[in-house]
């Protein structure tokens, strides 16, 4: 079983913001400057539907949106894909909420608007690295389980032979 880092697969970043301008600017920056695959949504409900369909590595969501705020959106996204790293975009006014939500929704990081692209790039890079580390850890734990059950099986075979 190859570990996640053995085969370079494109990382998937999902962005949700009700303002098309914000979506466009993040998408342009990431498409130009990184190798990530970008999935952009102006509706958090559509984004939830998309999360049912395919795995993503990082989810970046705005806080203030008409039909669902970013924290409630993350609560539901966490149910669908607990492994995806969650990053919240906040205005200065809702930073307090973001800080409260860190533990409630398992927020990886918040970024204040207006953000700097370099900051965003670094946060996404680290968020993806966290996701990769988790994947690799899970893979290794699974391999360990396999190896130890192999060992148990071999022991049992040996014991049977000597019974």
């Amino acid at each position: 079983m190859p570990a996640a880092h053995d085969k370079p697969e494109r990382q998937v970043v999902m962005i949700i913001d009700d303002e098309p301008m914000v979506i466009q600017s993040i998408k342009n920056f990431l498409t130009l400057e990184t190798d990530y695959e970008v999935l952009a949504f102006t509706s958090p409900l559509e984004a939830l539907t998309a999360l049912q369909a395919r795995p993503v590595d990082v989810i970046i969501s705005d806080y203030l949106m008409p039909d669902l705020n970013g924290i409630d959106f993350f609560l539901r996204a966490k149910d669908i894909q607990p492994q995806a790293t969650r990053v919240l975009l906040t205005g200065y006014a809702d930073k307090e909420n973001a800080i409260k939500a860190i533990n409630d929704v398992g927020l990886y990081q918040y970024i204040e608007k207006p953000w700097e692209n370099e900051d965003l790039r670094l946060v996404i890079r680290n968020a993806i690295e966290k996701r990769q580390l988790l994947k690799r850890l899970e893979a290794k734990v699974a391999e360990l389980d396999q190896a130890s059950s192999d060992l148990k099986g071999l022991y049992a075979d040996l014991l049977r032979a000597f019974k």
Partner: protein, 400 residues
């Protein structure tokens, strides 16, 4: 997520004492991190050589060396420590340029926001911890794979040795039993593993008589199969001397008690018969009682009850009590010898078998031809097609 019981250690370097005490105070008040503050990067490097740290925070502009230089040096000492750079507005560009070059985890612009600093630190520590976990898992995996490999190799070696042992053992068991005089022999042996711990044999003596034995060495596997070889040797030596039954068992006990490990013992039933007259002598050393029956509605089917202690348990001086009995068979009568595996063949299914029930079962089969009788008996006791809890060993002796 920190696996170590001790709190994460933060190495903090800034030539400005106001900065170091502000951050140190914040972290001491609001986190459980241990903070090691330094105003001089050279001394901070000295410390990092001596003490493990989990995260490093450094100012950019310092007199002895700048933050990037400090991180380059630190990477030689502690390569896996996440590095966070504090920058003024003016040197942010240089910091961004250095992100990949010194593999910066994050930069923080002065004046920093305390909540933001705590969040970045929390994540940096989590990264560090996950990396450590991953390293540990990889090492464990390495060990497990090595263990698996060496176990595989030993398993292979053992399998070869077991196969050899199996060959040797099969060679000590008679391939087929040759009828003798008016006696016909039928036999079935179902070992529970590769190696059985049961033994059966017929030894025709020089005087026209023959000895028969069914024995069960306690336990399974290699030790039990080695035990069967000893029993064979003793059985043949005694038979060649024209000896049988109670004397043979007493002699076997004497020799086995001398070098059998504790808790190991042998049960056996031996008999001696004259090939023509039907005179039979039997003696028992703790095995199950044989069954006497007649093919043609003569004598009732019954247990041949003889008592005796198992072999190899008590020393020769205490070994009494091997009962011997002489009987005379009439044509059509038969003796079934078996080991207790036949009674226990379904013990793993929660069913034990009373010898009296066995008598009933055998009685219903007593008119069958020898081969068929054994087949049906084994099938009725669930032998064949599944792993047995104990060896099943059947020897049927027909007098015609």
């Amino acid at each position: 997520m920190n696996s170590a019981a001790k709190p994460p250690t933060i190495l903090l370097v800034d030539d400005d004492a106001i900065v170091t005490s502000a951050i140190a105070n914040l972290l001491e008040l609001e986190t459980d991190y241990r903070v090691l503050s330094h105003h001089n990067p050279v001394q901070a490097l000295e410390l990092a050589r001596r003490e493990p740290v989990d995260v490093a925070i450094s100012d950019f502009l310092m007199p002895e060396m700048d933050g990037l230089q400090f991180f380059r040096e630190l990477a030689k000492v502690a390569p896996d420590v996440p590095r966070i750079l504090l920058t003024g507005y003016a040197d942010k560009e240089s910091a961004i340029a250095a992100i990949n070059e010194v593999n910066l985890y994050q930069y923080l612009e002065k004046p920093w926001d305390n909540d933001h600093l705590k969040m970045v630190l929390r994540n940096a520590i989590e990264h560090r911890t996950m990396r450590q976990h991953l390293g540990e898992r990889l090492r464990e995996l390495d060990l497990a794979l090595r263990d698996r490999e060496s176990l595989r190799q030993s398993a292979e070696r053992w399998e070869q040795e077991l196969a050899l042992a199996q060959q040797v053992q099969q060679s000590i068991l008679p391939r087929r039993l040759t009828d003798h005089g008016r006696f016909r022999f039928y036999h079935r042996y179902y070992p529970t593993g590769l190696l059985g711990g049961d033994y059966y044999d017929i030894a025709v003596r020089g005087d026209g008589q023959f000895n028969a034995i069914v024995a069960d060495v306690a336990g399974h596997g290699v030790p039990a199969s080695l035990g069967t070889m000893l029993v064979k040797v003793m059985f043949w030596e005694a038979s060649e001397r024209g000896q049988c039954c109670d004397k043979m068992l007493a002699e076997m006990n004497r020799r086995l008690a001398a070098f059998m490990p504790r808790h190991q013992f042998v049960t056996a039933f031996v008999l001696n018969a004259d090939g023509t007259s039907g005179a039979v002598t039997g003696a028992s050393a703790g095995g199950p009682h044989p069954i006497l029956m007649s093919r043609d509605n003569g004598a009732p089917t019954r247990l041949w009850v003889l008592n005796g202690l198992p072999l190899g348990v008590v020393p020769d001086s205490l070994y009494r009590g091997v009962e011997r009995e002489d009987i005379r068979l009439r044509p059509g009568e038969r003796i079934l010898l078996y080991t207790d595996g036949l009674l226990d063949s379904r013990i793993d299914l929660g069913e034990t078998f009373d010898p009296r029930e066995l008598v009933g079962l055998v009685d219903s089969l007593r008119q069958l031809d020898g081969e068929e009788l054994l087949e049906r008996l084994a099938a009725a006791r669930g032998v064949g097609g599944r792993a047995l809890p104990d060896d099943v060993n059947l020897l049927l002796i027909d007098y015609e």
